[in-house]
C-alpha cells in the first residue's frame, strides 16, 4: 500500500505528544489574540459583564430554546421536503423543489424580514418567538431536506432488492433498512446543521427576539463595552456548538458501519 505521508491514519501519538501539541496550538492562538489586543491598546475588562448575568443567562436559555425548537420543526419540514421531491404527484414535487431552491438561494436576513413583516403581519402572527422558530425552521429545513435526500440516494438499489427478497413489507423495509442506514450516514451532516441553527438564531435579533445576540446588543447600549460583550457572547455560542460536535462524534462512532464496495 502507498504510504500517506501527510495523513495521520494509522499513527498513534503518545499522550505526552498529544498534550504538548495541544498546548502549542493554545499558546499560538492566545498569543496572537493577546498581541492584537495589545497593538491597538485595548484593555479588556470582563468583570463589567457580571452585573448582567441574569439577562445573559435568560438570553442563553432563549437561544437554546429557539435552537432546539427549530431543530425539531426543521427536521420535520426537511423530511417532508426530501420525500416530497421524489413524490409522484407533480404538484407536490415541484412545490418542494421550489421551496428548497428559493430558501437556499436567498439570505436568511432577507427571509426573516419578508416572513415576519409581510407574511407574519398579513396572517396575524404577532408572537416573535413562535415566528422566529418558524422562520428559522423554514430556512434550515431546506438544507436538512437536501441532507436527507442525499442520504436516501446513497443507499444502493440492491439493499431494497434484498429487503424484497426477504419478504419484508414497505413499512418494514423503511423501519429496518432505509431509516437506520440513512440515519447512520447523515448524522455528521445533521450535527453540522444543528450548529448552524444555533449560530443562525443570532439573526433573529433583527426582529427583537431577546436571545443571546439581542441581549448583548441591549447590554452594549447600556455599558458601551462592545468588545467584551461580543467576545463573551462568541464564547457562549462556541460552548453550545462544541457540545453538539462532541455529542455527534459519539453518535457517529456508534452508528458507523464500514461499507464494503
Amino acid at each position: 500500500m502507498k504510504e500517506d505521508r501527510f495523513l495521520t491514519k494509522g499513527i498513534n501519538p503518545s499522550k505526552f505528544h498529544k498534550i504538548s501539541h495541544i498546548a502549542i496550538v493554545v499558546l499560538v492562538l492566545v498569543g496572537f489574540v493577546w498581541l492584537s489586543v495589545h497593538l491597538i491598546g485595548l484593555e479588556l475588562d470582563f468583570g463589567t459583564l457580571f452585573q448582567y448575568r441574569n439577562r445573559l443567562w435568560q438570553g442563553f436559555l432563549m437561544t437554546i430554546l429557539i435552537s432546539v425548537g427549530s431543530l425539531v420543526v426543521s427536521l420535520f419540514i426537511g423530511l417532508i421536503a426530501a420525500l416530497g421531491q421524489e413524490y409522484k404527484v407533480l404538484f407536490l414535487q415541484y412545490f418542494c423543489k421550489t421551496y428548497v431552491q428559493i430558501i437556499r438561494g436567498t439570505p436568511l436576513l432577507v427571509q426573516i424580514y419578508f416572513f415576519y413583516y409581510i407574511i407574519g403581519t398579513a396572517w396575524g402572527i404577532n408572537n416573535r418567538y413562535i415566528a422566529g422558530i418558524v422562520i428559522l425552521s423554514l430556512f434550515e429545513g431546506a438544507y436538512i431536506a437536501e441532507i436527507i435526500r442525499g442520504g436516501i440516494q446513497s443507499i444502493d438499489r440492491q439493499k431494497y432488492e434484498i429487503a424484497i427478497s426477504l419478504g419484508l413489507t414497505s413499512y418494514q423495509t423503511f423501519r429496518f433498512v432505509t431509516f437506520p442506514l440513512v440515519l447512520s450516514r447523515i448524522i455528521p451532516a445533521l450535527a453540522g446543521q444543528f450548529s448552524s441553527i444555533i449560530k443562525d438564531s443570532s439573526l433573529l435579533s433583527v426582529i427583537a427576539v431577546i436571545e443571546l445576540t439581542q441581549t448583548t446588543q441591549e447590554i452594549s447600549a447600556d455599558n458601551f463595552r462592545m468588545f467584551e460583550n461580543y467576545i463573551f457572547v462568541g464564547f457562549l455560542y462556541f460552548l453550545l456548538t462544541f457540545a453538539v460536535t462532541t455529542l455527534s462524534k459519539k453518535w457517529e462512532k456508534r452508528f458507523h458501519y464500514e461499507r464494503r464496495i
Binding site: 440492491q158 432488492e161 434484498i162 424484497i164 427478497s165 426477504l166 419478504g167 413489507t169
Partner: protein
C-alpha cells in the same frame, strides 16, 4: 418445483436483456451458464420476483406469478435469493441479518429465530461470526451468512446469482461445499455460475443462455459432453481453456 417461462422478454430502456425465453421443466438443481451480458442475471431476477418481465408469463407450479408486492411477499417465503456480493445489511450483525426475515416476514418469536440462526451458524462453522458486522467478515463468510439467511426460512427453491464470482478460490470452495450439502438435503437450487465444475457435477440440469435467449438445455453431463451448438462449444472452449 415446476417452472415455466412463457415467451418472456425484458427490456431496459432501449436495451434488450431477454428475448422470447421459453422453458418448462421440474427444477431440482439447475445451473445457468453463458457469456456475460447474455441475460443470465436478468432471468434469475425475474425468477426471484425482483424485477418483472416486459412481456410474457412466469408460471410456478402451474400458477401464474403476479408481480405486485403483495403476491410477491408470499412468493418470497418459498423462494430465497443470494446476491453476488454485499448481500447482507451492513448495519446488522450476522445474527440480526439472519433473524430479520424469520421475525419480520414469518412472524416467528425472537427466541425461536435466534435458536434457528444459531443452529445454522453451528452447522456451517459460522458461530464465531455470530455477533460480527459484515465488514468484519471475509467475503466467503459473508456469502455463507447470506446463504444461511436465505435457507433459514426453509424455502422450496434457492436462487443464487454468481455467489462465488467475487470470492478468492479457497472461499469459493467453502461456499460451494455448503451449497452441495444443502442440495443433498433436498433444497432445490437455480444458480447462475461461472464455476463449470460445480455446474457439471453438482447440478442436474444445465441451461445455456446466450444472446438473450435459451440456446441449449438438458442434463448437465450430456450438455457438457455433446454441445449441440457452435455457440456453446466455443463458449466452453473459452472458459475451460486454462483449466487444469
Amino acid at each position: 418445483m415446476n417452472v415455466e417461462f412463457k415467451a418472456i422478454s425484458k427490456y431496459f430502456q432501449d436495451q434488450t436483456a431477454l428475448e422470447n425465453v421459453n422453458f418448462h421443466d421440474d427444477v431440482s438443481s439447475l445451473a445457468i451458464i453463458g457469456p456475460s451480458g447474455g441475460g443470465k442475471s436478468t432471468l434469475l431476477r425475474i425468477m426471484g420476483g425482483l424485477i418483472s418481465p416486459s412481456h410474457g408469463e412466469l408460471l410456478v407450479d402451474g400458477r401464474q406469478l403476479r408481480f405486485d408486492r403483495k403476491s410477491l411477499q408470499a412468493y418470497h417465503k418459498k423462494v430465497g435469493f443470494v446476491f453476488q456480493s454485499n448481500g447482507l445489511f451492513e448495519h446488522m450483525t450476522a445474527l440480526e441479518n439472519v433473524t430479520l426475515p424469520l421475525v419480520q416476514s414469518l412472524g416467528m418469536d425472537r427466541k425461536e429465530a435466534v435458536h434457528i440462526a444459531d443452529s445454522l451458524f453451528e452447522r456451517f462453522g459460522l458461530h464465531d461470526q455470530r455477533s460480527k458486522h459484515p465488514y468484519q467478515m471475509s467475503g466467503g463468510q459473508q456469502q455463507r451468512v447470506s446463504i444461511a439467511r436465505a435457507v433459514s426460512v426453509k424455502p422450496v427453491l434457492l436462487l443464487l446469482d454468481e455467489p462465488t464470482s467475487a470470492l478468492d478460490p479457497e472461499y469459493t470452495a467453502d461456499v460451494l461445499d455448503m451449497l452441495r450439502e444443502l442440495q443433498k438435503e433436498g433444497l432445490k437450487t437455480m444458480i447462475v455460475t461461472h464455476e463449470m465444475g460445480f455446474a457439471k457435477h453438482a447440478c442436474e440440469k444445465l441451461l445455456f443462455l446466450s444472446h438473450h435467449t435459451v440456446v441449449e438445455y438438458g442434463y448437465s453431463n450430456d450438455v457438457f459432453k455433446n454441445p449441440k451448438t457452435h455457440e456453446l462449444q466455443s463458449f466452453l472452449d473459452l472458459v475451460l481453456e486454462w483449466k487444469v
